[in-house]
Symmetry: C2
Subunit: 464 residues, 2 copies
């Protein structure tokens, strides 16, 4: 970065809010994916106006800008792969307005998602989306990636809760998109297209989110199966019975054993699969739903069904699920966590397919995830320093995506495309689909300066 | 329309599917708004490929195309205000796939919305959005307008149920947008921007919709108030108590009296307002919620609270709400039904404001609508042949929109912008907001041939 450019940035943000030292560039070169590129500068925004000035500056100078929350993304969304400036949003973290009467909260984009619940709990409200990263990822990142989580089946995902946002467009204009009303149809659903736009269309600086009343009661249980198919059939039977559990998590045998090696969470090493189940709502209703769940899993050969009788028992049941990823991470030096997703009716086929892909390529895989919404996390375990194993894993991942597409699923349920899945998007949405995305991108960002190189390539990359 | 153009259309659709006679043009010149323009031809599509060929033809010849469902829209969305061709979609009305395991149904866009429930009820499922027009409007129209309805507070609106769609883009390309999975983040949320796009961005020919289990039980009640403020405070108190009724309809004194003049529905002529309430879910839970509703309305001076003890009693309670619009239509020769919407906390101010606007301009107004989601339907009663009364009504409507905007609300909660609200959109979303919509429109439809003249004007209208 030229000195006069750095001086310009310091004018906008103040000298302390601009980093260019190499050790800082290293710190901002990666996220939770495997992508890694050092920026030329990092700036910390505290106001929407600064973000607007930054984008006007970037457009004058032709410098790429990559917005960043807490860098916890799994697809490389916040990695500055065309270098330029990383715009760190995590100091814009104020709560601007909590409106219990309308069940709304307005926050700055850099607020940690889990910071919302303690604030709104006073009015008996909660914010439903709960990605695994909820305690450290930001609302802005969650909105940019349309984050999901464990409760997707019953409560939906981030896009179902975003009502309104303040956005800085790539050329610096500030616009308000959406509306605080429950119903709003004046103009296109612009806030809708920003959710999941992965920082390609604009920078959200403020977001208004809808909240829901905290369910009065939760029922939790663990169902243990000797066969994958019995577990999958149970999921289908529960849904067919009209029950919508708030959580229905699947863990396979490989993951169970990794968990038990890591820490005794009381999971049976010889089970082929377990389901962790939760129903919620008014007490009688949550209990009635869990009773129905018990009937359905029994009818599908669950070998046991354990209900939590207290909050402590619930925590114990769910402890295994919470440590699953850490436990798998210990098995081999590296892991590749995927989120290829199918409709829940295709789960048995998907699980069998993943196992068969891993076997064919001689790879270790653990499968766990959100069975209720078909969003599994097949996790390949490997040593990335072994070029042969790495090559086999890349083949396996490609086959995994193709399998999801063949089953009418999606290459990404909740992690986004970013850098990691960019080579596979066209397989899913076709060249006409890609052309549509390129046209939208070009409309918003004609010089391709905002988070360039993500999701898809532009027909002619700008000369930056 | 030139003869060779008509011949081209007949080649695409078959001679019987092309109308050009003047009496047919009259029949397709209007919808349920006050807009009226005759097209030059009407065509009936039965396949997506025909729609694609039509758009290629329209682009070659520079002819505007306006898609149309059943013409029940309230904002002029399907009126061909630049003439050209009306594309009637109501013969594309097949159910393509019902998938109870994944709680999905895929239908052609011309299917009547109310046709879905009888099909999916067999699997104990239902399609929640219930606009007033549900028995005659089409799914395509509902999606294009992002239709709402009585259950918006608890169940959301059309956009919350649209998973995937087949779309013909303005230049004839056929694309699939969205995905059948619960979670899907591969590419921008394109299906999201099509919901509520009012036929400006493309023509949906097939739509996959999410379904929900039918609630096991419903509780219904009527609360009667001597003061508007007591009714409004009750709405706030019910929400604050953590209850989310599936229906919470408001009817004011003027509307009550119009209803009673029309047909005795047992509503008290001397009440200032009534609330019609419904809770649903598991039996015990719906009952507990209604018990809580009763406590809250009693605490807010409801003068009486009547609970329905049977389906017949429920039908009797709700009969008044159902005939409200017809009843108001009898009072004067014409009515102008609006859907300006505010957050529910602003309802008392909105209701007082509407009354005051009507009084100031010497106009009759009836107010009813969806109190739970702040979506009221203030309905001005007038004789449009009286130029003075018409002018006063236009002033009143303008003030109504400004009031909604001043209260952080929206000029349209569920009817759309179309022709009717086009002059007011910029007041709400600003010139930067309009520019953004224009850019999006131009990206999809560079010659402005698909439903031109709606929602906003283009900077340079194409020379058609």
């Amino acid at each position: 970065m030229k000195l006069e450019q750095r001086i310009q940035l310091e004018k906008i943000f103040g000298p302390e809010q601009v980093l260019t030292a190499v050790e800082d560039m290293v710190a901002y070169s990666y996220d939770a994916s495997h992508a890694e590129v050092q920026p030329e500068a990092v700036v910390f925004a505290t106001t929407t106006e600064q973000v607007s000035e930054l984008m006007r500056f970037a457009y004058r100078e032709g410098i790429p800008v990559t917005p960043r929350g807490q860098g916890s993304g799994l697809s490389g969304g916040s990695v500055p792969i065309k270098r330029g400036i990383v715009l760190a949003m995590d100091r814009m973290n104020r709560v601007l307005d909590f409106d219990p009467a309308n069940r709304l909260i307005t926050v700055e984009a850099g607020l940690t998602t889990a910071a919302i619940d303690p604030i709104v709990a006073a009015a008996n409200l909660f914010y439903p989306p709960d990605p695994g990263s909820v305690t450290f990822s930001t609302i802005g990142g969650n909105v940019a990636e349309n984050a999901g989580g464990l409760r997707g089946l019953k409560y939906g995902v981030t896009k179902d809760y975003v009502k309104m946002m303040k956005v800085v467009l790539p050329q610096g204009d500030i616009v308000i998109l959406g509306n605080k009303c429950v119903k709003h149809v004046a103009g296109f659903n612009m806030e809708g297209i920003f959710v999941g736009s992965e920082g390609l269309l604009g920078i959200m600086t403020e977001v208004t989110l809808a909240l829901l009343p905290i369910p009065a009661h939760r029922e939790s249980a663990l169902a243990i199966f000797n066969s994958l198919d019995d577990a999958a059939r149970s999921v289908a039977a529960i849904i067919a019975a009209g029950v919508t559990p708030s959580t229905m998590e699947f863990i396979d045998r490989a993951t169970i054993n990794a968990i038990q090696d890591f820490k005794d969470c009381g999971l049976p090493r010889d089970a082929e699969a377990v389901l962790l189940l939760e129903t919620d709502g008014e007490k009688h209703s949550a209990e009635a739903e869990m009773a129905r769940v018990e009937i359905e899993v029994a009818a599908n050969q669950a070998r046991s069904f354990v209900r939590a009788k207290s909050a402590e028992e619930r925590d114990r049941l769910f402890a295994g699920r919470r440590v699953a990823l850490n436990a798998l991470a210990r098995v081999r030096p590296n892991l590749i966590l995927e989120d290829a997703t199918v409709m829940r009716s295709k789960l048995p086929e998907m699980v069998r397919g993943i196992s068969s892909i891993a076997r064919r390529h001689g790879l270790q895989v653990g499968i766990f995830g959100h069975a209720g919404d078909g969003n599994l996390h097949p996790t390949f375990l490997l040593d990335m320093r072994d070029p042969d194993e790495m090559a086999r894993t890349e083949l396996a991942v490609t086959e995994l995506f193709q399998l999801a597409i063949d089953l009418e699923g999606t290459i990404s349920g909740e992690h986004g495309v970013g850098v990691e899945k960019k080579p596979f998007l066209e397989r899913q949405i076709g060249s006409a689909g890609i052309a549509l995305l390129q046209n939208i991108k070009k409309t918003f960002d004609p010089l391709n300066l905002l988070n360039p190189g993500k999701m898809f390539d532009m027909p002619v990359e700008s000369a930056v």
